[in-house]
């Protein structure tokens, strides 16, 4: 659950290079490999989209101007996808409008050709770290979801009330059960959710509410 990724080592992660100029493509792939990244190259956006499942964490390094679908279109297509790959765009034009459009659509960085190695490494590192974090988040959310599945109906209700800021006494009154029973439910659900303190429950609730693809979202409190 550690989202502090600034000193995370990203070497070995995947960089997908989408570039139609053979020499540029080849040289980038070579340099990135020498820097310790895994690379896969594609000569068009279509070829990239047609590829099989991607290794994660990873990022895309794509030229803006490609035959057929452009780099910007590819970026848009990927960002619609819910597991968006971080995107770094390159151009030999250096035109501001394209850069602005790419960044607005969520590109990590915009590199101008000829590409400065340091800029390239910085951009790739930022992109990969962000994907690491994304992958981490997804993984932890999956764990939480799996644990939530194990709660009984009543435990789920108690979880909602507790994370909604209600006292045990209030919960007991609402359900017409004793405070003692509420405490039992609470202890059991904390155990199932691997929560040590009440604060952990709040964090789980926060994470669930923030997730877009939650299987059974907690009922809202009126």
């Amino acid at each position: 659950m550690n989202t502090e990724t600034n000193d995370l080592n990203v070497t070995g992660s995947w960089v997908y290079v989408v570039e139609d100029d053979a020499s540029v493509r080849d040289s980038l792939s070579l340099l990135l490999q020498l820097r310790g990244f895994s690379t896969a190259v594609y000569d068009s956006a279509e070829a990239f989209l047609g590829a099989d499942a991607f290794e994660r964490p990873a990022c895309v390094l794509a030229d803006v101007r490609l035959p057929g679908m452009s780099g910007l279109e590819l970026q848009r297509k990927l960002s619609d996808h819910h597991a968006a790959l971080p995107f770094v765009v390159m151009t030999a034009h250096g035109d501001v409008a394209t850069a602005r459009m790419a960044l607005r659509d969520g590109a990590v960085d915009f590199l101008e050709k000829p590409i400065d190695e340091q800029d390239l490494m910085d951009a790739i590192t930022v992109a990969l770290r962000s994907d690491h974090a994304q992958v981490e988040r997804a993984r932890s959310r999956e764990g939480v979801l799996a644990r939530m599945q194990r709660l009984t109906e009543r435990e789920l209700e108690v979880f909602e009330r507790v994370t909604g800021g209600f006292h045990n006494r209030e919960i007991a009154e609402e359900f017409g059960i004793s405070q003692r029973t509420v405490e039992v439910h609470r202890a059991r659900l904390m155990e199932k959710l691997q929560a040590r303190r009440v604060a952990d429950l709040f964090r789980i609730r926060f994470e669930l509410d923030g997730a877009s693809a939650v299987a059974s979202p907690p009922k809202t409190l009126s």
């Binding site: 139609d20 100029d21 053979a22 020499s23 540029v24 080849d26 040289s27 980038l28 070579l30 340099l31 020498l34 820097r35 000569d43 068009s44 279509e46 803006v64 101007r65 490609l66 035959p67 057929g68 452009s70 279109e73 030999a92 034009h93 250096g94 035109d95 050709k113 000829p114 590409i115 190695e117």
Partner: protein, 592 residues
Amino acid sequence: MSELGAARNPEAPGWQPSPLRRPPEPVAESAGLLHAAGRSVEPPELLQWLFERPWMLAVVFCAAYLAIDAGTDVFAIGPARSTPWNPQAALALTLVAVGGLRFAPIVVIAVVLAELLVRQAPAGGASMFAALAAGLIYVAAGYLVRRLTRWTRAEVSPRDLSALVLIAFGTSLAVALLVGPAQALAGLIALSSLHLVSLQVVVGEALGLIVAAPPLLLLASGAWRLELVGAERRGQFGRDLMFLALALAVLLTLIFELRPFDEFRLSYLTFVPMVPFAMRHGLFGAAIAVPTAQLGLMVALMVTESRAATAFEYQMLVLALALTSMYIGVLSSERERAARRLATHERELREQRDALAETQRTAATAELSAALAHDLNQPLSAIGTYARAARLVAERGEIDRDKLFHILDQIAAASSRAGQYVRRMRDFFRTGSMQSERVAVEDLIGRAGAHLRDRIDRAGIRVETSIEPGLPPLRIDAVQAGAALDNLLGNAIDALAAVPPPRRIVVLARRQADDRRPLLRITVQDTGPGVPEELRSQLFKPLATSKPHGMGLGLALSRSIAERLGGGLSFDAASSVTTFHLDLPIDEHRNE
């Protein structure tokens, strides 16, 4: 007035030289424009001042009306004293036409007063009733001119002139129908001479209106400013009018004083100076010239002491003269205005075209340099990246020589690609430095194919080449012709990216039957989605492109290359698949 007007005009209020436009060199033209567009039609200041003071206006108007009535009370016929021309009617009509119906009472009062004072009609008699009715008829005529014609507000058309003439005749007929019977009732004339008197009244009234109403209407409403034809001639208006008066004086002297023949036989000569004057100065010129001629004729008749009946006969001549001159004048004005509009329109069109061409040139230059930067940046970027990779390889303890050599070879290749591109662009920009060389058609097509081999293979495109056997070698700049061909092939490859396989490009080379000179036609066809209909008309213009990120320069450049080489580049709209023809000259004796 006229000299001053012409000299002052460019600095007239409202005229502002726009800094973006070229300063208007022909003063006449710009001044003319100003008149057509800028100046509003307003009565002269004195008249406006009078309009605000109805009592004063009434006094002035009645005085003027009586003065004119009395002043033209010559050659009066019979006891009813009907005169051969009644310009005072025009004065009445003008007041209502310019000022509106609110001045109707003044008109009626003036007409009745004139009947009382000038003709000394008995108050309360039938002729008084007739005068009252005549006043009302003038008011109606003025109202009709105001509502139905543009005399008082805009440029006068032949239709407006015809309307005025019809109103004049209608008015005179109505007045004649009133005055004749009234006078007969009053016992002033015998019933037997009623028809003659009526005719005299019709002619006198109609002539008065037709001769005097146009200048009065134009001057009183201020519309005369719109009628000045050709601003450059305004300086000459006074001079020309003097010449006209002189010519008329000479002619009238000849006709009436020297009398080589019966005066009627020569009277048509008065048309001679009138027609060119009307031609030259338009409707306003005619409107001024006609009263001048009329005055001259009246003076001549008075001097020669003609009989009143003769005076009436001459009025017919003046009527013809007036109508002819005025129609010529109005047509001349129209023609002048049309010519001016056309000139303005043409100039605007030319300016627009120039601006457009300039914009396109600028845009083309900008796009061209962007394209140049892009195409140079690709190999430069590759070189830089390879160099860093090479350094990384070299930094390692155990050097992978094969890898290093591969990288260095790639650097050399990218560098030579950049150099080739620079050379090609330089060749293209350096006009007139085309290097002719003998090159076989097969080689030209082969080289272009080799450039693009990589892309063709990647896209899985099958290229079918068919070259007519026995073609003579070309004598052209192979680099430039190759660039144009490259572009066509590159477009075909791009187009095919949008369709699923099988992808096919057909390249045909054959002799083209041309009337003037032998041409080689290289046809490039692809089975891509085709050129969108809306793009076809501007296919060869810079910046037209169907590729989302294309520069839209390729075809424009390629065509100019082909044309520079003495050939051409065309799109075959009739073909069912995308087809471009690159024509190149195969003149063996071409020397360059």
